[in-house]
Every structure is written in C-alpha cells, then in structure tokens.
Symmetry: D2
Subunit: 345 residues, 4 copies
C-alpha cells in the first residue's frame, strides 16, 4: 500500500532554500513507473537547477535530484517489463521522443524533445519519483543503492566523456579536476585500460587521485604542470577530460593534449573560453562537448560499477540536510559525492 503523501525537497523560488515538505505521491501514467527512492546523489546540476542558472530554466515548484536508486513501487498502465520491487536507477534523461534522428541513432541525449529528471520533471529529492520505464536502468538484486547512485550521473557522465576522447587502451588520458566527477573518472579510465595523469590543486585531491588509480598526479597550479604532463606522457595526453571547465583548466588542457588528441568537456559553467587557433589547427586538436550518456552508456557505466571496478567516495546524509549540502557544494567544500539516504531517519 503506497502512502498518499511523501516528504520532498521542493524548489519554490530560484535561489531560495528548498522547502522540505509533504507533497502528494504522484501516480504513474502509461509507460511510467512509480519508484520508491532509497538513495539519491546530489549533483552540481541540482544546484544550477535550484538557482535557475541556465538559459532554459525549470518551472518552480519542482523537485531536483537525478541520481536516483530505488525500487519499483507501482507499474503504470501497459508496463510489463518491470515488476514491483525491482531495483532500478533513474538518471538525468527522463525520456526522449524515440523517433527523431538522434533517438533513432542511439543519441537520445541530444533529443530536442527530451524531459530531464529533477529539471523538467520532478526528481529524486523525494520519497517517490516517477520514471519512464523505457529510460529506467535495471540494477542487480544485491545492489548497494547509496553506492550506485552517483554512477547514474557522475559515473555515466565521466565514462561517456572518456569514450568521447577516443583514447584507446594503453594510451594516456589526463583528467583535470579530481572532485565528485574526477575521482570516478579515474576509476573508469583505469578499467578501460588507459594510463592516467590526474590534475588538481590540493594535496588531498592529488592523494585521492593516486589511491583511486592515477599513474601520476600533478598540481595544476605548479608552473611546471604542463611540462610535467608532457614528460609523464611522453608528448601529451591522447585524451583530456576536463571535469571542471574553468577557463584556466581549459587553456591548460589545450597545452597538455597530444597532437591529434581530443579534449572532452563535461561541465556546464556559463560563459566562453578562448581557443587558440594556431595550436588547434597545427596540432589537429579536437575539442568536444559531452553531455551525460545514453541508455547504452548508462548500462555500461553501471556494469563497470557492479563488477567492482568503480566505486564513488560517498557521504550519506538525510534529505533534511539538503540546504546545508547545497551551501557546501557552492563553497566547493565537498569531497567525493553526497548521497541522500532515504533509509536514514
């Protein structure tokens, strides 16, 4: 028997604290699932959503949260490929049209008709959430819900970003920024047979890089940083993943990448970065944006985690902490990933 109401963290006005309040439990429509949330990771995007930072904004009131791990509570009409109690994951891409040129080609992340969890649809900062069955990931029976949650955004985003660098096993990848995304990226890179040079600016982050599998960790603020990367990689990294696209990180990335290499960007800060034409042309450098991952990418990203190759550093917290978590996130004071744990009192 499903409750009629649930606790949720609701954005009522951009830039204001979220309201922790009781709201009606939604009812799944055709092709949808009602999922009981067990854990939900907190992502920078949730903060951007709550602050209304981006050109296309969500419409308050809405519930953020798009790293949702839980179990199926109710099947909407016509859903036959899930059962009640199935462990599932819900990611950023709530649904897509399945008929446009992008959807048809397996690039539904580019669908212009998509809906996004915790943005244009209510998300997982709540006890229950609606999912689209066709876009819901299956999780194994014995999954650790809190542990898998960050894989559903941080994991798939960095995994896809690494694929987009086109670096092959045995080649070097530089990972810039060893925060919530970067420390997961290192583990994916290692499982993909890549050699890894990690860059960040604090001793703690650099130590985390080495313990999660980086071959080399370099202080990005050192005047020797670029020279050190070129030396460690014998000429530059074949791929560079920039997890925090700040202009200095981006500029550095362009100097660390090998001729014919690719710089992939996975962050979404506002603004522009200056790109030097001469280097990009003469060295045949490729720059590429990458946004979350497709259903295929998500299944692959989950499989790496389930196989034990990737494990996010998480700290659990109750839903009621969300506003203080957001404050810390904004201040850059969070190591690894915070996961809202709905089994906490």
């Amino acid at each position: 028997m499903i409750a009629k109401t649930m606790m949720a963290a609701v954005v009522r006005q951009f830039g204001e604290p979220l309201a922790i309040e009781s709201v009606p439990v939604p009812v799944p429509g055709p092709g949808e699932l009602l999922v009981k949330v067990i854990a939900c990771g907190v992502c920078h995007t949730d903060l951007h959503a709550a602050d209304g930072d981006w050109p296309v904004k969500p419409s308050p009131p809405f519930i953020p949260g798009h790293e949702v791990a839980g179990v199926v509570a109710v099947l909407g009409p016509g859903v036959t490929d899930f059962g009640e109690g199935d462990p599932v994951g819900i990611a950023w891409l709530h649904d897509a049209c399945m008929r446009c040129e992008y959807c048809e080609a397996g690039w539904e992340t580019l669908c212009e008709h998509q809906h996004d969890t915790g943005y244009s649809c209510d998300g997982g900062f709540a006890e229950y959430v609606i999912a689209s069955a066709a876009f819901t990931a299956r999780l194994p029976a014995n999954v650790d819900f809190a542990q898998i949650a960050p894989i559903l955004c941080a994991g798939v985003t960095t995994y896809k970003g690494l694929k987009e660098t086109e670096a092959r096993p045995g080649e070097w990848v530089a990972i810039s920024g060893i925060g919530g995304l970067g420390h997961v990226a290192i583990q994916y890179a290692k499982a993909m047979g890549l050699k890894i040079v990690a860059l960040d600016v604090t001793p703690e982050k650099l130590a985390l890089a080495l313990t999660t599998g980086a071959d080399v960790a370099i202080d990005a603020r050192s005047p020797e940083a670029i020279a050190d990367v070129l030396k460690a990689t014998n000429g530059g990294a074949h791929g560079v993943l920039v997890t925090a696209v700040s202009p200095p990180a981006f500029s550095q990335a362009l100097h660390m990448v090998r001729r014919k290499g690719t710089v992939a960007l996975v962050g979404l800060p506002p603004g522009e970065f200056p790109t030097p034409i001469f280097d990009v042309v003469l060295k045949r450098i490729t720059l590429r944006g990458s946004i979350v991952g497709t259903r295929r990418d998500l299944d692959e990203a989950i499989a790496f985690a389930v196989d034990g190759n990737v494990k996010a550093e998480i700290t659990k917290a109750p839903l009621s902490d969300i506003n203080s978590i957001f404050a810390k996130l904004k201040a850059g004071k969070i190591e690894g990933r915070i996961v809202l744990d709905f089994t906490m009192p």
Copy 2:
C-alpha cells in the same frame, strides 16, 4: 643539360618585397629530385611566410611557393621510382621523419621533424626546386600544370578539412568563405555526395558558389543567415568547414552546426576565438583543426581533380608579378587562385 642559374623570387627580409633575381640551381641529394617548375600557385601561407607572421619563422633568404607542378629534371642519388620528365606535384609537406608515431600512423602532417616547402626549404617561386622523392606526388601524363597547381594546397587542404567534418554522403555541409579555398571545397563536397550551403559576403562569391555546385548560397552578413542555414539544412549542417577562421565566421559556424556535428577549421590566422561552453556541451559539438593533408589525402585530392570533378578558378601570371600579387592578396582583392606560369615570358 640543366642551367647553372635560375630566376627566383626570394624573401630577403620579412615584410619587404621579394627580390626577383638569379640564384644557383640547387643539386638534389640522396632521395631527392630536382624539379623544373612549370606552374606554382600563390597561397596565403606564402604571404605569411614572407611577412614572418607565425611563431615559428622561416630563415631568410628563402624562396616561397608550395603548390608546385612541374617535371622531374634530375634524379638525386638512389632515386629509382621516378624518371626524368615525369610530371609531378610538390606540396607543403617537403618531408617528414617516417618513423615517429604520427608518420607511422599515416599522419605525417603532424610530424615534429617535418620540413615544409617554401618555408623551411626553398619552394616553387623559382625555375627549379628540390623535392623529396618519397613525398612527391605523381601527376598524369596529360596534366594541365597550371590547373593542377592549386589542388596541391588549396585542394588537399579543403578536401581533408571536409573529411575531418565526418559528414557522410547525403548530409549537409556548410562552407564558410568562398575564396581560393572555398570555391574548391564546394566542388570536393559535391563529388563526395554532400549537400552544400555556402556562405560569403559578396554577390560575386555567392554566384560563384552556385556555379561551382552549392545547393544554397547565403549572405553571411544577413541577420537571417543562421536561421536560413538551419532552415535549408533542416536543423543545421552536419559539418561546417570554416575556410577563413575569423572570429565572426567561427562564431557563426557554431550556430549553424547540427547537434553532434563537427566544425573543421583550416585557416591559420593569429589569435583566439571565444567558444561558448553551453552550446558545445549540450549539443555535443566537435571542433577540430585540420592542417593540409597527408600523402594519401594528396593523392585522393589529385584523383578527384584528374577525374574532372574539381577545377580551381585560376588566373595565370609571370613570376615577375609576385609582389603585386602579394599586394592584392593582402588587400583581399583576389578571386579564385593566382598561378605563376613559368611558360610565360
């Protein structure tokens, strides 16, 4: 019997007029050819060379010219795969090490040990020029030397740039800038099965675009230019080739490219361009520099021209006109391509 001296246009000091003077005919070393120049195209790069515009500069005195069509005059020691009188083409890449990771992978254009014709080696603004046999292109017996000359840089550069957009037959490519490079690019694109939208700013260039094969020609300065491209291509061009990387052309390119599309840059102006992060990431846009073409690309580019698919608009001139040609080039007053014709008196 080869003459001991030859006429050449020599850069004696950056930024000064070239000296048209008599210099010794060079002697080919092992693996080299002495080539009698019949025609040599004039490229913007020659102007950059003569003005010392780029970070790595040539060392005066030197002879520019890297769109060289001629016949083999003398075989250097050990050369067995060419014969005297063979029609040949010499391009920008004079030679490369053949042993580095780029050369081994068929990307000798990225070799850090390369020498470049008319830049770090003397080029074709002279009656004779030295070529490296292993990097010399074969031309067919009945070739029109003046006509093929621009293919050796303008041709291969745009052909490679189009390949680098990864646009497939039946897809749309936008070609920005219909000058010496662009009007050739249109013809390659057409022969490659692409649909073409051309952009430039004068009625003459737009007319040239249509006569050389563009499906649509759009005034790049029109406030509706981007909207018109999106409409003509039903959502944006799959590939964009920017032949003149001016910041406005580049910015426009990013708004004309389809989601998941690629913008390829083939020009080498100094400076930087501002790249909007949000669009690049959300639309998974790829930006890529492209520099001339490999030996394979060159052979392919020549084959398209020999088959009659690509023909540059050329104006012939004698070597002695080089300084006035440079002046016009600098002023942007040249349509198509100027070719130095050594059969002219």
Copy 3:
C-alpha cells in the same frame, strides 16, 4: 469511411499459389496505423516467405509484401504524430522492442524481438495494412507511390550494404548482380561519390549497369573478369557488394576486393560458402553480412530517391497477377522490380 473487407493475396500453405481473396480490414491497436496501400513492390523475400524457405518460418495464413507505399487511413489509439492522408512507407521491420542493446544503439534491425512486415505480421499484398507508427517512414506530399515502393526494401538494403563496405567517396565499389537490387545499388553508389564496377552475366544487365551509372561493366562469366576488375580499379575494389550471394559470386568477390577491403553480403540464399583463409588473413579482408536497414538508413535511402538520385526500374501490375509474378521471379525472368499497383483495376 473504411470498408470492412479488402482484397488480399494470402499464403494459405507454403509452396502453394497465393489465394486472392476478400478478408477483413484489420483494426489498428495502440501506436498503430491503418494504411491504405497504393503500391507494394515484390521482393525475393516474399517468395521465400510464401515457400517457407527459411529456418524461422511465418505462420499461414499470412499476407506477404514489405515494400508498401500508401496513405494513413486510420490512426490507432494514442498516435499523434501522423494524420489521416499522410503519405507513408512501410518496410520489412514492422517494429522492434526499442529497449534491447541493439534498439538502444540504433541497430533495431538486429532486435531479437522484432516483427517483420509480410512475415510475422501481415504485409502489403492487400488493400490495407497495419503499421507501427514508430517504424513508419514519412514520404513527401508529391511522392510517386509506385516509384518509391522498391526503395523501401531494395533501396535501403543496398544503400545500407554500401555503407557497410566502408568505401569512401572517390574509392571503388564492385557491385555483383545487376538485378532488382543491383541496378538500385549502382545509383546509390554514384550518389555517394563512389566509382563503380558492375558485374553480371547478360548484355542487357551490363547495359543497364552503364545507363544507371556504372563506370565499368564486366561480364562475370568471362575468364578475365577478375583481372579486368583488378585493372579497372588499379588493384581491387575497396568495397564489394554481393547482391546475389551465390557461391561463385562470393568466391569471385573475394578475389576482386582490394587489400584491407570489405565484402558485404545482402542476400539470403540458404547454404554456406567456402572462404579461403590464406587470402582473408594475408590481405586483411573483411566479410560482413548486412540485413535491410534501420529507420535512419531508411530515411536516408528515401531522401536520396526523393532528391532524384535513385530511381528503380519498375513494371506495374495488379494484385491479381501475383502468382504469375512469383513464377517469373522464381525463374529469374524479371528485370528491375515489379510493383503491385492498387490503382489498377
């Protein structure tokens, strides 16, 4: 007002003549369309279906036909992206699960849960047919229904097969068999910028090859056939498309393909072909099967036809002729493609 009954050609027993009879008009379910058939091409697969030739057989009674062009007559529940009267095309792939690893990657032709038009679902040898809206192709307003019909199987199959050879513009493709598939393949190859050598065994077919765009046409039975292909292509075709996978055609294909080239097979005769290990390994030859095309491939194939690049040679016939058409098809006596024209009396 839709009629209650319709004329159809029904397979009642494998290997027996089809019954031309009146059957109930089907009613579209959720997500389905009822389409009024205007034209339907006749494909070898229809014959295999009617004869029960393949390991997995259809279940009589059923209606063959999978090159269906018509207009939407009735929208099933929930269908909003089509309107009554819309011109549409229905191909082999009636539907697929949209959720397996193949569907998610844009390879729904490999879906193990697919249904196939005129095989596991009733097809277009009838006045009306049911289509799955998500798998129905849109046709332009002024389409010639009979002319577009063969594109929906012969067209997309050969177009996809050519893509699968990975031959690039300017390279050579050999097309073996210039029948209903081959003469369409030639036109796609030409529009894709490929050079074409065509092989068949009659003067009529070879003449058709040349008029549809082949650069060279060679009698496949000539003892010089392979040598002639090697000479015409200067070393072998980069891609070979075998439209009729007879063992001799296949063996010949392996000797006509260039080193590093690809042989694509698109036919489905029963049996095995002997593959010579030494050549395949030493020359790094790739063999690849290809089956119809995805929704993306289909849209692309249609676009080439709509743009006027591809036009099948068709002969129109009434539905009542189906048994004599099958007889001729079995005897190999059909040139081009037969299209059932439902506007004929």
Copy 4:
C-alpha cells in the same frame, strides 16, 4: 670487433632438418643494422617456412626466425637514429616500401613490396641478423630479451587481432585456442579492459587461461560449449579471436559471436572454411583476417609487456635444439613459447 662467422640454423631444403652450421656474418647496407641476437622465439610460421607450406615460398638456403631480441652491433651507412649496444626487437616485417597506399596509410603489413624476416630475408636463428633500421623496434634498457622475444610476433599478432575485433572495454571477447598465441592474447585482452571467455580442449590449457586472466574457461569439445559461452557473455561475445583457424574452431566462433560482433582470424592454415550465409547476414556478423601488426601496433604491444601487463610463458633452449623443437611443435606438444637463448652454451 665483430666475428667473421656465426652459427646459424639454415633451411637447405624444404621439409629437411635445419643445418646447424657456421656461415658468414652479414654486412649491413645503407639504412640497415647488424643486430647481435640474444634471444629468438620459435613460431609456427618458422615451421611453415622450413616446410615450404605456403603458396609463396622462401628460397633455400635461408635462416628462419622472426621474434628477434638483441642489441645493435653495427650501424649500416646513413643510420643515425640507433647506437651500438641499443637493445632492439625485430619482427616479421623486415621492411616495406613506405610509398604505396598501404604504407602511406600506416598499414605497411599489407605492402605488396614487403620483405619478411626469416622468410624472404634471413632471420634470427643465428648469432647475427640484418635489420632495416626504419622497421626495428626499440626496447628499454633493462629489457629481459628472452621474455620480450615472443611479444614480437605472438604478442603483436594477438594484440592486433584483438583490436581488429573492435571490442571495447567492458565488452566480452572469446579467445579460441590457448596455446602460444592464446595465453598472450588473454593478457592483452585483460589489459585492454575486456572480459574474457577462453576456449581450449585440455584441462592444462583451461587452467592456464584462468591463471593468465580469463574470466571464464570453457572446454571447446563440450557439447554445451556454445551454450556456455552465450550464457557467460549474456548473448555472445562482442569479439572472437580465433588463434587456430581450424574449421571446427571457426564454425564454433560463428556461433559464439554476438549479433553485430566480429570474428578475427590470425592463423594461416591452408584451406577454406564453410561460412553460413544466413547467420552472417541476419546477425550482421563481421569476419576479418588479421596479419601480424604494424610498427605502431608493435610499439604498443611492446609497451604493454614492458609495463608488466603481458608476460609470455617461455621455455629457453639453445639454437642446437631447433630440430627437436620443430618436431614437438609439429606434434602440438609445446606449451607456451620456446625461445632460443643465445646466451646458452
């Protein structure tokens, strides 16, 4: 001071025992190196060479051996990029033309003008051997010569074969045959992030498969073998590497491969294999031959070994044992790889 004569194992007549005899030390020509052999692996190809098994035969007398590790003894005229004493590796590809379409594209293994070590040139079953500098691999200062030797053919061949399956990290590869090639292939696959199912027919080989990194090892003779592979891989392996292309192994490979997967063949037995058309087409299976590896592949293969990721199981033997080694090899009685150790008395 180099000796004038050296001991070598010479093929004087096909099918006869090799003569262990004193022959003159060769003198390196321009661009060549004289290499003092320290270790040389024994490959099946050496046996095929000595028996004259293949269509294009070597010309006795000749010295086999193409897994050569040693040090540079003498530089030929013009060689400047090696020094005496440099540790080097010599593989199958003695040299290639560097100018054909294959060489230019980084596919020199397909060059029709290549020479092959121990086949068309004398090889490493001798105290000294001639190498072409441009095709000689560099080894690190502290290399274990006997240990690296098998990497130069068995290693690079299987590494390239795995690349040619196009299986990506996280996907499944089936490796059929866990002998001298297969047990090395498993280690490469693991380092490349692949999941591995190994097949062979003895408990010893299956045990070796598991200790070298296979996730699953299956008895290829079991009637359940195919079903077991399909189950372990959840639908078939994305790539299959067939190291011993026997017709049964090949047939089995086609049933173990996933839809859209690739079967790569790296062996060179005489004869043909029967290929089932229906499966290949309906499942879009790709078959591909693969022959040794390019210079790039070789450097990459060596790097994996130097990094400690791949280590062949070797047994050292003196040159004088070569005939008994060949006898055992012919009888299939060799586990791992035999390496001739020239430091043995």
